[in-house]
């Protein structure tokens, strides 16, 4: 059947500039470019991944939106009509990749940061120490000291495992399978270089990366792919994934064609079989079941690794987080509705969950109200785009933030949202060897480290302007934020005063 859906993009080729080198034909992984004495684009296949545009030596290619593919209508947007047409043609659920792209209010952009003037001096981060060191893990509420025989003061309290981060950002869980080996390798190399962590996601850890154990969070999700005791001990922290911001309440599916030899070994499943992660963990139907899994992991790792529980931001997130902390988790990772994914039903991705900003604020306040905020660190994921978002998240109460999409973009991702097709032209979200090869782990890891270094500098600049020289003094300090254009209730939930109100 020939699709009636009009093309989303128009690929324009300037034939006067074009030298017919066919580089675009070789680079397009979506089969859009044909060569018949000259390059002929099939507009319908273009996903605007920008690969051909970037690599055309003559800059002869332009991709534009197909503006008049649908007659203008504020209610029946092109996207809605296109999806109806797709469903009418196929009768299927619409899949998509990356995070929720809809124009919901982005609360980060309605928060402004304070700065010092006169009475408290700002601090120059180039001249004075500026400390970002962050420790993730359960802390006791108080310390106890004793005096030894020489009346030297000695620490009597023993702290559980604490993970040191040089910058309060870790890489998000993205599985080997969803992304390529080279992407995984780039992430872990950058994590090591920058003194932070990467997260395996639910797909196990390739043996070649075991030497990076000190910079790895291993994930245990509902499919338990690649989970064995050596895996659980090849990390500094274990994460139990309950939910994901992009698809709360939904499982995952890695199609069999992506399961080649290496993924098969890493995930411990036969080559070519689908890897289905169920929606719930089939051994977790209540909070006490979760607690059992937490302690099963702690036993396996001899209580040397903190255990994180990752949940998506849903309506009742604060109470759920409180339960998780009481169930024994050392870290709660909250993933907001902007969080990314390799594949999710579009209806879920675009309509389920709540913004991370309010979820984070509610969780931090709830844990404080219950006097258990010290018992767990909070990692804030799903929608952190810039160092400013990071600073605001920390001021709302996060111990550290988690970046997925931002990391992918740093590696070359153009956010074309076609991760689920396996055709990623940039070698990131694909398992095809000829595409994977396009991503050089060394180059990609350097780009990731550069991004973190830039954010490190920017965060220090923000701290300096706030007149504080340590990240602890920003963490949870909502007094240093003001809201602009937010309603009273939202301000109340965020615990932030409107701009114009002094202290």
């Amino acid at each position: 059947m020939i699709s009636e859906i009009p093309p989303e993009f128009i690929v324009k080729i300037d034939y006067e500039q074009c030298k017919r080198c066919k580089r675009c034909v070789m680079n397009c992984s979506f089969g859009c470019m044909q060569f018949k004495d000259r390059v002929i684009p099939d507009h319908k296949k273009c996903v605007a991944c920008q690969r051909c545009v970037t690599f055309c030596p003559e800059s002869a290619i332009t991709i534009t939106k197909n503006e008049l593919s649908y007659k203008e209508n504020a209610n029946w947007t092109p996207e809605i009509r296109q999806n109806i047409l797709k469903q009418a043609e196929t009768g299927g659920m619409i899949l998509s990749g990356m995070g929720n792209p809809r124009a919901y209010q982005i609360l980060w952009d309605h928060l402004l940061i304070d700065a010092c003037q006169v009475t408290n001096p700002s601090i120059d981060p180039l001249r004075e120490p500026m400390e970002l060191r962050t420790f993730i893990g359960r802390k006791p509420e108080r310390l106890e000291f004793s005096a030894d025989e020489n009346s030297e003061i000695e620490l009597a309290t023993e702290l559980g495992p604490q993970i040191k981060l040089d910058i309060p950002v870790v890489f998000a869980a993205m599985s080997y399978g969803a992304i390529s080996f080279n992407a995984h390798k780039a992430l872990v190399m950058a994590a090591k270089q920058s003194g932070t962590l990467m997260n395996t996601g639910e797909g196990g850890l390739h043996k070649d990366l075991y030497s990076y154990a000190d910079n790895i969070i291993v994930q245990v999700a509902s499919g338990r792919f690649g989970v064995h005791s050596e895996y659980l001990n090849t990390c500094v922290m274990v994460e139990i994934k309950i939910g994901q911001g992009a698809k709360p309440g939904i499982g995952g599916h890695l199609p069999g064609e992506k399961v080649g030899e290496e993924i098969s070994k890493t995930r411990m499943i036969p080559v070519g079989t689908d890897a289905i992660s169920p929606a719930p963990h089939h051994d977790i139907y209540s909070i006490e079941d979760l607690s059992q899994l937490i302690y099963a992991i702690k036993e396996t790792t001899d209580y040397t690794k903190p255990v994180s529980v990752k949940i998506s931001a849903v309506h009742n997130v604060a109470a759920i987080a409180s339960g998780i902390v009481r169930a024994g988790a050392d870290i709660v990772t909250i993933d907001g509705f902007r969080g990314g994914t390799g594949a999710a039903p579009m209806v879920i991705r675009d309509n389920v969950g709540i913004p991370i900003e309010v979820a984070l604020a509610a969780v931090d306040q709830r844990l404080r109200d219950e006097g258990i905020r010290n018992n767990a660190s909070i990692l804030c994921a799903g929608g952190i785009r810039t160092s400013a978002d990071m600073a605001k998240a920390i001021a709302l109460g996060a111990d550290a933030v988690v970046i997925g999409t931002a990391a992918l973009v740093a590696m070359g991702c153009r956010v074309c949202q076609k991760c689920y097709t396996g055709n990623c032209a940039w070698g990131i979200a694909t398992q095809k060897p000829e595409l994977v090869r396009r991503l050089d782990p060394l180059v990609a890891s350097e780009r990731l480290s550069n991004l973190l270094r830039a954010w490190d500098l920017e965060l220090k600049e923000i701290l300096g302007s706030l007149g504080v020289n340590s990240i602890e003094s920003l963490r949870g300090s909502r007094e240093r934020l003001r809201g602009i254009g937010l309603d009273e209730m939202t301000l109340k939930i965020l615990g932030v005063k409107p701009a114009g109100v002094g202290q």
Partner: protein, 375 residues
């Protein structure tokens, strides 16, 4: 007035302790703070004094400020049900009192700025009835009631609530406040003083320093840029931060860390003015372990921003600075006296012959301890 008067402060501080416990009158501390007249702007001054009530040393001395007589009545009604009031009396004052002496920095003929419009100032010496302390300690009971009075009784404010000590503070220059409260007639083994330069102007007596809770008193020059998180860290522990001034968090943090969590004083100071990681990384193993644990567990208590602080308590006096010393502090010793002040001149003014004068390093506390009983 309490509701919206946040006060970033500039200020001068001065403190002195006789470590042998000898008590001396308030005229020298007045003279010391008077020398730093220009560091304040007349919108607040005050003193904390330890050892001033030897005859009522066993009772909690509540120094109260009331905006109006209804507040006093409501507060007394409140006290009546909760305490045994041993004695209550008006605070002795010199109406229109002003400091008119000469110092090295000013001449007598300049005249003082007489103190006007004081609130109703009253003090209560009270015991906590045994029946009230079945489930909480005496101190805990006092803290809870101080919080209640400050937050619930309109127009009533607890200036201090410790034993054998008191806060004497108000709106005006500190030297005039000192004369107004007749501090030359009190004897104490620790005196601390504060002259204030708020950058906005609520003429509120309760907003002056020192801030006191139980026998803690704080005088503070600077601003706490980490106030937002310090406040949120304290709130779940039952502290109500109603005074809208950054200084009160210091008093409550000491109360939490030293009294409730039982941290040794030097550990509490390590939490409030932590060493930098670059220094911690070079410490010997034991110290490193302690310093790291303190920063991990007490991050919410870290004070950031410019400050020099003198903390008074019944057994001593401690001065310390922020981590990069953005506010001045000089210390000096002469025999059994330890002095601390924003300026060396303020010490030389009252004690020209000093054994040793030094400026403590950033974040390093100077500790004065009462070595003997109070004489």
């Amino acid at each position: 007035m309490k509701d919206n008067c946040y006060i970033p402060s500039g200020c001068s501080i001065s403190g002195m302790i006789n470590e042998s416990g000898r008590r001396f009158d308030g005229s020298s501390v007045i003279k010391s703070i008077a020398l730093m007249h220009d560091r304040g702007n007349g919108l607040g001054g005050g003193f904390a004094a330890y050892g001033v009530y030897p005859r009522h040393a066993e009772q909690f001395a509540f120094h109260m400020m009331f905006d109006h007589i209804e507040a006093k009545e409501a507060c007394e009604e409140y006290f009546k049900d909760r305490f045994d009031i041993v004695l209550d009396e008006e605070m002795p004052t010199r109406a229109g009192g002003a400091f008119e002496e000469e110092t090295s920095g000013r001449y007598g003929e300049y005249g003082g700025h007489p103190i006007t419009n004081p609130p109703i100032l009253w003090r209560y010496f009270m015991d906590v009835p045994k029946s009230k302390t079945s489930f909480v300690s005496e101190n805990e009971y006092i803290v809870k009631n101080v919080m209640e009075v400050n937050s619930r009784i309109d127009g009533a404010f607890v200036a201090s609530s410790g034993k054998n000590m008191g806060a004497f503070k108000g709106v005006g220059y500190p030297e005039d406040i000192g004369v107004f409260y007749k501090l030359d007639e009190y004897k104490a083994y620790i005196w601390t003083a504060h002259g204030r330069f708020p950058t906005n102007t609520p003429g509120w007596w309760g907003g002056a320093h020192p801030f006191c809770l139980l026998d803690w008193s704080i005088v503070h020059n600077g601003e706490i840029s980490s106030y937002g998180i310090n406040k949120r860290y304290l709130e779940p522990h039952g502290y109500k931060l109603e005074l809208r001034t950054d200084t009160e968090v210091i008093a409550y943090l000491f109360d939490l860390l030293v009294r409730k969590h039982n941290l040794p004083m030097e550990m509490a100071i390590k939490a409030l003015a932590s060493p930098f990681w670059k220094d911690i990384d070079r410490m010997p193993e034991r110290e490193q372990r302690i310093a790291t644990a303190i920063r991990q567990v007490y991050g919410g208590a870290l004070l950031n921003g410019p400050f020099s602080v003198i903390l008074g308590h019944s057994r001593g006096m401690i001065g310390f600075n922020d981590r990069i010393k953005l506010r001045p502090m000089t210390c000096a010793r002469a025999d059994d006296m330890l002095y601390m002040a924003s300026e060396e001149a303020a010490i030389r003014e009252i004690a020209p012959d000093l054994d040793r004068v030094w400026s403590p390093k950033a974040g390093t506390p100077v500790i004065g301890k009462l070595s003997e009983e109070v004489i």
